[in-house]
């Protein structure tokens, strides 16, 4: 799970009266290290590969460009250029590099990556992309995006873009960047994160763990839906393969009627083809149970999000209350000392329409002091509530994590068991069929 991006606005807020959210929230640490751009707040839950990826020195290159045709979101044919991104890890001992990943990306995917970085690292100067369309052309011909010179310059520009990110102390550690270089389907995660950000409250100091949890639940949901979709397509195709073999059964049987020597072999082989074809029904039905297990966790993702939302609501509420309290205290102080710093309607009208009497001022101060008292009580209890919630919620989330890991592992193992059973059946049937064929 990825750490929450450091919010630069925290630097500008007055320090809160009490630590908000979880006592060990990143806030304290963030305030201290903010200046340095605290990107190394490792939650310690990065994947092994992610860490290892950065232990070695890597080389990134955009080595080739290729014209492609495909269908766009509107299902219309379009021509575009795809670029080959190659990642090499360099062995320290001999300086030789080994190709570890290579995939093709088009310009719009680079844009997606950059948009994500812009949103998630608002305080960082994100390296720019080469121009989308050829501009400032001095030659009419090179206005074409397909022009080889333009493509070549763009290839260089894209490579430069990636190298700049890779050499940036904070951006280089971003997981989405890593996935951009290594995973064809990275956009699922980038996209869901972008969507998630748009949907959040302007909660200033959420508990980092809940933010991470929200990301995680989005990722879980999108990856499981994708997996289920592809699994369904695979199952569909597999069904087709098995069922077509059933046709052999019928034709072999008919053919055997005219064959003297081959007849018996054909007939019995045909029978085995029928067995083979009908075996797929049970196989796929078993797989549906597996799919159901995954679906349960797909829906669990929503439940996780609900818990996160509750935390956000409470946090937001708390922050609003704290803000209100702070402003009241400020007013009180000003009234008491006679300095006017904060804007209030009363203050303005007083200025415009004459000073208030000391008695009036005393009265106002008293009211404010009462409100402040009340507010402090409320804040205390809200804080307590909040911490209680976080403690309980997190306990349950830990329990949930254990359960999820157990269940998913079991599901994956049961999937393997199903595959094994399918293979054994296949071997049986085809061995029988082979025997029949060899007797023909």
């Amino acid at each position: 799970m990825e750490q929450a991006p450091p919010d630069p606005e925290r630097q500008l807020q007055p320090a809160p009266l009490e630590p908000l959210g979880c006592p060990d929230a990143g806030l304290g640490a963030a305030v201290g290290k903010e200046a340095a751009g605290a990107g190394e707040e490792d939650s310690g839950v990065d994947t092994m590969t992610h860490n290892n990826f950065w232990l070695k020195k890597i080389e990134i290159s955009v080595s080739e460009a290729e014209k492609r045709t495909g269908r766009n979101a509107m299902n219309m044919q379009e021509t575009y250029t795809a670029y080959l991104i190659e990642t090499r890890s360099v062995e320290h001992t001999d300086g030789q590099s080994v190709l570890t990943d290579s995939l093709w990306r088009r310009y719009s995917e680079f844009e997606l990556l950059r948009n994500y970085l812009l949103v998630y690292y608002p305080h960082i100067v994100v390296p720019p992309l080469p121009e989308k369309r050829a501009e400032f052309v001095w030659h009419k011909l090179s206005a074409d995006n397909m022009d080889p010179d333009f493509v070549e310059r763009r290839r260089i520009g894209l490579e430069n873009f990636l190298l700049r990110i890779a050499s940036h102390p904070i951006l280089c550690r971003d997981k989405i960047f890593y996935l951009f270089l290594t995973q064809v389907f990275f956009f699922y995660l980038a996209d869901s994160r972008l969507k998630a950000l748009n949907a959040t409250f302007r909660v200033k100091n959420p508990d980092k763990r809940f933010t991470d949890l929200k990301h995680y639940s989005d990722e879980l949901q999108s990856v499981i839906s994708h997996l289920l979709r592809v699994r369904a397509r695979v199952a569909d195709r597999l069904y087709g393969v098995y069922k077509v073999h059933g046709n052999y059964g019928r034709v072999f049987s008919e053919w055997s009627a005219i064959e003297k020597e081959m007849g018996d072999g054909l007939q019995s082989a045909g029978h085995h083809m029928d067995v083979y074809a009908s075996s797929i029904d049970d196989i796929l039905e078993d797989e549906e149970h597996y799919a159901d297990q995954l679906k349960e966790y797909l829906f669990y993702a929503e439940a996780l999000r609900a818990v996160c939302r509750k935390h956000e609501l409470m946090q937001y509420d708390l922050e609003m209350a704290a803000q209100d309290l702070a402003s009241k205290k400020q007013q009180c102080e000003e009234l008491a000392t006679g300095t006017v710093r904060t804007f209030s309607l009363k203050g303005m009208t007083t200025k415009l329409f004459g000073q208030e009497t000391p008695e009036q001022r005393e009265a106002r101060i008293k009211v404010l002091e009462e409100q402040i008292n009340e507010g402090e009580q409320q804040l205390k209890s809200k804080n307590l509530e909040g911490r209680e919630f976080v403690k309980n919620a997190w306990a349950d989330i830990e329990r949930f994590k254990e359960q999820k890991n157990r269940d998913l592992k079991e599901a994956l193992i049961s999937y393997a068991v199903m595959q094994i059973s399918m293979c054994k059946k296949g071997i049986q049937v085809w061995t029988n069929a082979k025997e029949c064929f060899s007797k023909m």
């Binding site: 009627a257 003297k260 018996d264 595959q419």
Partner: protein, 451 residues
Amino acid sequence: MEGERRASQARSSGLPAGGADGDSPGGSAPFPGSSGSSALLQAEVLDLEEDEDDLEVFSKDASLMDMNSFSPMMPTSPLSMINQIKFEDEPDLKDLFITVDEPESHVTTIETFITYRIITKTSRGEFDSSEFEVRRRYQDFLWLKGKLEEAHPTLIIPPLPEKFIVKGMVERFNDDFIETRRKALHKFLNRIADHPTLTFNEDFKIFLTAQAWELSSHKKQGPGLLSRMGQTVRAVASSMRGVKNRPEEFMEMNNFIELFSQKINLIDKISQRIYKEEREYFDEMKEYGPIHILWSASEEDLVDTLKDVASCIDRCCKATEKRMSGLSEALLPVVHEYVLYSEMLMGVMKRRDQIQAELDSKVEALTYKKTDTDLLPEEIGKLEDKMECANNALKADWERWKQNMQNDIKLAFTDMAEENIHYYEQCLATWESFLTSQTNLHLEETSEDKP
């Protein structure tokens, strides 16, 4: 053990050369007096090229069987000719080796076409040299086939690959198409070389050895296109009459051919469809594995399990690819060749019927004294000989063809079964090792979870 077999009576009535029982593993020569020994040559012993070797081989003195030269020079009567049909098992006497390779594209102002290189190695005396290399195009193969059909109207000439396939082709010259055609042409020539009679055909020899210009000039000799067309028209008309008096054994042969053609066409379609389904399955599988890797990026505790699942799926994917390619190499071309063969067979029947028709009409003329009948008896005599030869040639070649067909079909389907077994065995091994690694790591957990 067997399911009900339909029309079992039809089977037991059998075909003319009856003798061999269904279950005898050796498969014997249909003619009792044969000296054929080990007979059914096991697939493992032979090269693929040699599996067309006959069990029953005609006498090498095949000039007797040349239908085209039906002249008074024929030394013997049809009756004694039958006795000369020997069935010798001579697998080691293959002395003509042909390969077809190196397709090359030629572009002229009028057309683009492909030529194939044909290399012939031989120890036969009648060949001027022991090695030949020529280039031929599809048109040349068509010419050769025509000449063989003309010379031996009732022998079963091997089929040529189609001119072009209508379905699923973007353009004539895509690589897969050329490769498939090259393999089929290679098979075509080798089947001719293995045929006891056709292998000595003069046009065949010229095809294999002549330089391009020699071949063109040779082609120009012989009956022109028009006369050949004229023959075809007559043939269609008269073959209908020949059907009426078709002897019993040929009626049965014809029935078989019709049914066989139906079935083999169906099998061809089924096999192509299986290939297509497998390809689509493979395409979807390619996407399936990587999703697990993506998932592992957000699951710290399940990283290894997910990655292992992904790699299992990828390995099964590769196994599928291998199965597909096995299918397209072993099964599809064989089945397709027999689809074309079934069309050939129908042509052969027609030609036989045509000769019969010719004979019958002359006999009719004589019987009813319709025209000047002085020369008729002699003509009829010749035609009767011709008919007898044609029938015997067809009968013998039919047996040979059937035997080859059984071998080829059996081999092709056995291969297909073998590919599938291998595929499932590979996948089984993959998933079993995954399971082992999972249970090894978490022995306690799994024992708790076991029901």
